[in-house]
Each structure stands twice: as structure tokens, then as C-alpha cells.
């Protein structure tokens, strides 16, 4: 099996999450256009990234905490099942969310929106297969311990966030300054389908 550095995977997933227009850069561009302010578009990326980070962080902390009480095998199986369940939920009712945040939102609302979007999409769950072995490798006894794993988990979130922020920054600047939004008509491919496939495959990998 080809082994890819888990850090690279985390960064790659960060880039993937960032590219998805539903994860925030499009909202930032829209707010910039509405308020005729490049500054607004760029500033909006901060709460979007933070909201995403909190959502991922909650999942990572849950994994760490569960890792303290459960063995790795049952943790992986449970996580795999949650991922597949999430994929099914996403495929069947992903379009059906109560909309709480609109175009007049402030930065706080944007952060909440980003948290809700990332959580509803199961963004954090997608990282679980990388997080489990990564956190395990942090302790010589090959067992999850809070002290050994916490810094690694935090670094993992940091790497993911860094990649996501870099991508949304580049996309936002390109779209706001040059490209415009007309490419969305054909170019907005169905990230949800990829997302559902990714969640399902990750879930299966964890269980098997």
C-alpha cells in the first residue's frame, strides 16, 4: 500500500473543503460584492475559517476523548459507522436545512454559519481516519493518551485549517478580482456527491 504522509492528507482535505463553494469562499465573495468592499470579502474568510475549525475541533476532541476509553479497533468501527450514517443522511436530506443566516449577517453570524455548514456536511468526520492513527503514533505505548495526543490533534487541525484558509483566500481573490461568478453556472460541480462518496469510502476503510 502506498503510504502518504497523514499531514499531507490533512492538508489535501483542507484544500478540498476550501474549494467547495458551500464551505464559505462564495459567501465571502457575495458579501464583498454586496458591500462593494474587497476588505469585507477578505475579512469574511476569518470567521469562515474559525467556524470550520471549531467544527473540526469538536470532532477531533470527541475522537481523542473516546480514544481514552475505547480501544482503537472499536473506535474505528464506530467512527466508520457514524461516517456511513452521515453520508446517508447527507444524501437523503442534505438539501433540507433551516436557513438561519442571510446576506445581512455580521462576522459573528458568518462564523456560526460556517460552523453549521461544516458540521452538517460532516467535515470533521472526514478527518477521523487520519486522526486516529496519527494520534496513536504520538504515544510510544501505541495507545491514546490525552497528554501525548493533544498536541498532535491540535497540529492536525492547524494543518487542515492552514490549507483550507490558503485555498479560500486564493479562490476568493481570484473570483472577486478577476474571474467573476459566471463560471459557477457550469463550474460548480456537485461537491456533495464527492463528499458523500468520500464519507462512505472513509467509513468503509475504517470498518474493514
Amino acid at each position: 500500500m502506498i503510504s502518504i504522509s497523514p499531514w499531507l492528507v490533512l492538508a489535501g482535505l483542507g484544500a478540498f473543503h476550501g474549494l467547495n463553494p458551500a464551505m464559505g469562499w462564495l459567501f465571502a465573495v457575495a458579501l464583498g460584492l454586496h458591500r462593494e468592499s474587497r476588505r469585507t470579502a477578505l475579512l469574511a474568510l476569518i470567521p469562515i475559517a474559525l467556524g470550520h475549525m471549531v467544527s473540526i475541533g469538536v470532532v477531533a476532541m470527541a475522537v481523542l476523548t473516546l480514544g481514552l476509553v475505547a480501544d482503537q479497533r472499536s473506535l474505528e468501527t464506530a467512527a466508520g459507522m457514524v461516517l456511513i450514517g452521515w453520508a446517508i443522511f447527507h444524501a437523503t436530506s442534505g438539501h433540507n436545512h433551516r436557513v438561519r443566516i442571510g446576506m445581512k449577517t455580521g462576522m459573528m453570524g458568518l462564523g456560526v454559519w460556517s460552523f453549521l455548514m461544516a458540521t452538517a456536511h460532516g467535515a470533521g468526520l472526514m478527518l477521523v481516519p487520519v486522526l486516529i492513527p496519527l494520534c496513536l503514533s504520538g504515544s510510544p505505548a501505541s495507545d491514546l493518551t490525552a497528554a501525548g495526543s493533544l498536541p498532535i490533534a491540535l497540529s492536525a487541525i492547524g494543518v487542515h485549517m492552514g490549507a483550507m484558509l490558503a485555498v479560500i483566500l486564493v479562490v476568493t481573490v481570484c473570483v472577486y478580482e478577476w474571474a467573476g461568478l459566471s463560471f459557477l453556472r457550469r463550474g460548480w460541480i456537485n461537491f456533495d456527491l464527492i463528499w458523500i462518496a468520500a464519507l462512505t469510502i472513509t467509513g468503509i476503510v475504517l470498518i474493514v
Binding site: H34, V99, I101, G102, L181, W188, D192, L193
Partner: protein, 464 residues
């Protein structure tokens, strides 16, 4: 079923939508005023290059009689691209067609054969009453939380009327939209400013005050609707009410600016009790409140009482009766239907507070009975009513019936249906397309027109 790319008829902004290809088909609601045979959605060929141009080329009958099809809309539209609630991988495919009288909701699939659409689901009034608490379904809009339907009555056919949501995928009734309706009781139309998180609703009356025709005592007592309501679109909470005053009755069609950054729109008021005039009002953001200003007043025309129906005889004048308006995609031209006098007036509303007349045609009318070059009958009845504009703003379609029970109050000898088309000049100005006249088959009257791929009252946008 989710698609891989957004529907090609979704556009991020109204500017982009204005470059959409020309429509080739129009869907038109047609109803039997006698409520004996089923109403239908007719398909009209609007492609000038087609041999069947200006003809009804297909239709789908409703399963029951007496629905009174009136307004209808698409299951999905450009608002699916909104950044805060994106669901772009849907198809604009189904027409959501309510019966105003029956409260029955029909879902019609236009995809397998756009000229022969078929009914794929019927939601019975009992289900809507039970799950949403409403009846007498009117306007349909696709929006951030699914398909919005408004209703003129509650489950018992009384006030309050309001809005409920349908799931945009399954069409299941999700329930009442309002979480705090404040003082709002009457309903007629609704739409929103997506860029300002605001919904706007207007007022007609409760079903018992219009289902047998307009009641003169209620009208003269100023008891029909005369207010606008402004709501927080996402908190679903009533924010503000604006009363147009005792003089004004029947505040109907709402046309917010298509550009989501603009915070103004137009609404028509059918009649003034003072002088029978009709008026257009601009609502706008004034500080942290909404405000309105009357920007157009269309006077009544003196007329020989012998030519007037009983309701107008005593006034020696024909009221313009502005019953529908529509705003072009570039927010530049407002079309105003004067169902009484027979005028279709085009205003340049580039400055929303100072509209300037840019064009006018006359057809039908209570007194004028103006004709059309292609009409066999030299004296048309009914007048300009439901009006729809192509996305590029170059073509305007309209029909001539208002509402089954009200038609004979103003057109005593009944209404023979027709549908016509206007061509719009580069800088305004309107004239009839002399080759386009649909002499509507007897037994049905045409009402709202929806254009293939969307039109100027079907879609809303999140980007300027």
C-alpha cells in the same frame, strides 16, 4: 435526483440572466369559470421560427374540476445558487400549480416532454390544511428554504392567510412558515429581498369576501387589504406594517428590484375610493425602517354610463384597475396592466421615485374594446392582466382574465380569453407582435404565464 452541474437556467445574477437564450415555450394557467370541466396548464409555442408559433401546442388537464388555476411557479430557480443556502444541483423541471379555489396543489413534470407535461403528484387540500393550516393557495416562489406557497385563508377559509413551505425535493408539505406573524391577517402576494433578508407580503381579503365576487360594501368600507408587511426572512418574524390609508384598496402584486443589493420595489394598488384611480407605490429602505411613496397615479377615464357595468355606472367613469405589474430583469422598465381601461403601460423606472412613461398599448377594456391586428373579433373583451417579461426584456406576454367570480362584475358579457405579445424597443417603447394572438379556446380563460427557463417574476438572485 441531484445533477453533476447546476441547472443551465440558473444564473448567479440578474445581469447574467438577462443574457439567457430566448424562450420557445410558455406555460399558461387556464381555468373554467363555470367549474364544470377540469382546468389545465396550456403550452403555447412562442418560437417565431416555429410553424406552430402563437398556437397552443399541448396541455395537461387537472384531475378534478373547479380548482381555479391562477398563479404557479417552478420548483427550483436561480436562488439555488445563493451562498448561504446553496443547493445548486437541482433541476428547474417541475411546475408547482395550486388551485386558488380548491386549495389543491399539483406538481407537473415538464422534462420528459416539455410540450406535454404530466402531473406527477397531487397534494390534496386536507393534507395542506392539516400540516400547514392554510387554504386558497396563491403565489409560488422557489427560495432559500425550499418552495414557498402563500395562501389567502387559514384551514377554515378565514384569516389569517399566510405562507407555508414545501420540500423542494419531495414536495412534502413542511408546515407554516411564520414564527411570529405580528398583526398580519390578510394575504395576497409575497416576495423578498434576498440581499436584505427581508420578505414583503401584501393583502387582498379573506376567501368569503372574494369567492363570490368583490363585495361593494366591503370595498367601500375600505375593509379589503391596504397594507404591506415586512418580515425578517430568516427569523420568519413580522417586523413592520405599512398602511396605505383608507382611500386605498387591494394592494396586490409585489415586484422587488431584481438586483439583490437594491432595497426597493414596486407594488400596485388596484383602486382609490376617492376617484377610482389606480396607483403604483415604491417601497424603500429609509434608515432602519421601510417606507412607501406613491410614484404613479393612473386616473379613471370618464365614460358613458350606458357602456359601464353596474358596479361602475354610478361613477360615470371606467377605473384603470391595475391588477398586475412586472419589472424587467435590469430593473429598468415596469409594466402596468390596466385591466379596466385596457392599457398596458411601460414606465422607465431607472429612478424608482420618478417613473416616466415609455410606452403604451391598448387592447380590450371595459369601454374601449380595442382590437388586435390578428383578432377575428373586432371588439375584444377583458383587458391586460397577468403580464410576464422575457429574461432579456425584449418580449412581453399577457392574458386577459382576472378571477372567475370578478370577471363578470366588470365585463358583464363575459370574457373571451386571449393572449398577446409585445415587442420592446431598444430604449423602451412597446408594440404588438402582429403575428402573435392566441384566441383562447372557449370554455377556458387564461391567467398567469410562465416562460420556459424562467422569466422576470420566477427567479431571485443573491449576487448583483
Amino acid at each position: 435526483m441531484a445533477t453533476w452541474q447546476p441547472d443551465p437556467s440558473f444564473y448567479p445574477s440578474p445581469r447574467m440572466a438577462a443574457k439567457a437564450p430566448k424562450e420557445t415555450l410558455a406555460y399558461v394557467a387556464a381555468f373554467d369559470p363555470d367549474r364544470r370541466k377540469p382546468d389545465a396548464i396550456a403550452v403555447v409555442d412562442v418560437d417565431p421560427k416555429s410553424p406552430s408559433y402563437s398556437q397552443i401546442v399541448g396541455k395537461v388537464d387537472m384531475p378534478n374540476a373547479g380548482d381555479e388555476l391562477h398563479h404557479f411557479g417552478w420548483n427550483a430557480c436561480s436562488s439555488c445558487l445563493c451562498p448561504n443556502a446553496p443547493h445548486p444541483h437541482m433541476e428547474r423541471r417541475y411546475l408547482v400549480v395550486p388551485g386558488l379555489r380548491s386549495s389543491r396543489l399539483h406538481i407537473i413534470d415538464t422534462k420528459p416532454d416539455p410540450r406535454n407535461p404530466e402531473i406527477v403528484r397531487v397534494i390534496e387540500p386536507e393534507e395542506i390544511a392539516e400540516k400547514a393550516g392554510y387554504s386558497r393557495l396563491h403565489t409560488i416562489h422557489c427560495g432559500p428554504e425550499g418552495i414557498y406557497v402563500n395562501a389567502l385563508g387559514n384551514a377554515e377559509g378565514k384569516a389569517p392567510g399566510g405562507i407555508f413551505l414545501l420540500d423542494s425535493g419531495s414536495f412534502d408539505v413542511l408546515g407554516q412558515w411564520e414564527m411570529d406573524r405580528g398583526p398580519q391577517q390578510l394575504a395576497y402576494d409575497f416576495w423578498w429581498h434576498l440581499g436584505h433578508d427581508t420578505m414583503v407580503t401584501s393583502e387582498w381579503g379573506t376567501p368569503d369576501t372574494f369567492e363570490n365576487g368583490l363585495v361593494p360594501e366591503i370595498l367601500l368600507g375600505s375593509k379589503y387589504g391596504r397594507r404591506l408587511h415586512f418580515w425578517d426572512l430568516h427569523k420568519r418574524k413580522h417586523l413592520q406594517e405599512i398602511d396605505f390609508g383608507e382611500e386605498h384598496q387591494l394592494v396586490f402584486e409585489l415586484r422587488p428590484a431584481h438586483d439583490p443589493t437594491k432595497a426597493y420595489g414596486f407594488v400596485g394598488c388596484v383602486i382609490s375610493l376617492k376617484d377610482l384611480s389606480a396607483s403604483i407605490w415604491t417601497w424603500y429602505r429609509d434608515g432602519d425602517k421601510w417606507a412607501v411613496k406613491k410614484v404613479i397615479e393612473i386616473p379613471a377615464e370618464p365614460a358613458d354610463p350606458d357602456l359601464l357595468p353596474p358596479v361602475l355606472k354610478g361613477f360615470n367613469a371606467v377605473a384603470p384597475l391595475v391588477t398586475d405589474i412586472d419589472l424587467s430583469m435590469d430593473d429598468r422598465f415596469l409594466y402596468v396592466s390596466c385591466w379596466g381601461t385596457g392599457d398596458m403601460i411601460q414606465y422607465d423606472v431607472s429612478d424608482p421615485f420618478n417613473p416616466k412613461e415609455a410606452g403604451r398599448v391598448r387592447i380590450g377594456g371595459i369601454v374601449s374594446r380595442a382590437s388586435h391586428p390578428k383578432a377575428n373579433n373586432g371588439a375584444l373583451n377583458g383587458g391586460p392582466q397577468m403580464v410576464e417579461i422575457s429574461r432579456d426584456g425584449k418580449r412581453v406576454y399577457f392574458t386577459n382574465s382576472l378571477y372567475g367570480a370578478i370577471d363578470p362584475q366588470f365585463y358583464s358579457d363575459g370574457i373571451d380569453g386571449w393572449m398577446v405579445k409585445l415587442d420592446v424597443g431598444e430604449n423602451g417603447g412597446i408594440k404588438f407582435d402582429e403575428d402573435f394572438f392566441v384566441d383562447w379556446p372557449k370554455g377556458h380563460r387564461p391567467h398567469q404565464v410562465r416562460l420556459e427557463g424562467g422569466d422576470c417574476s420566477s427567479d431571485s438572485y443573491c449576487y448583483p
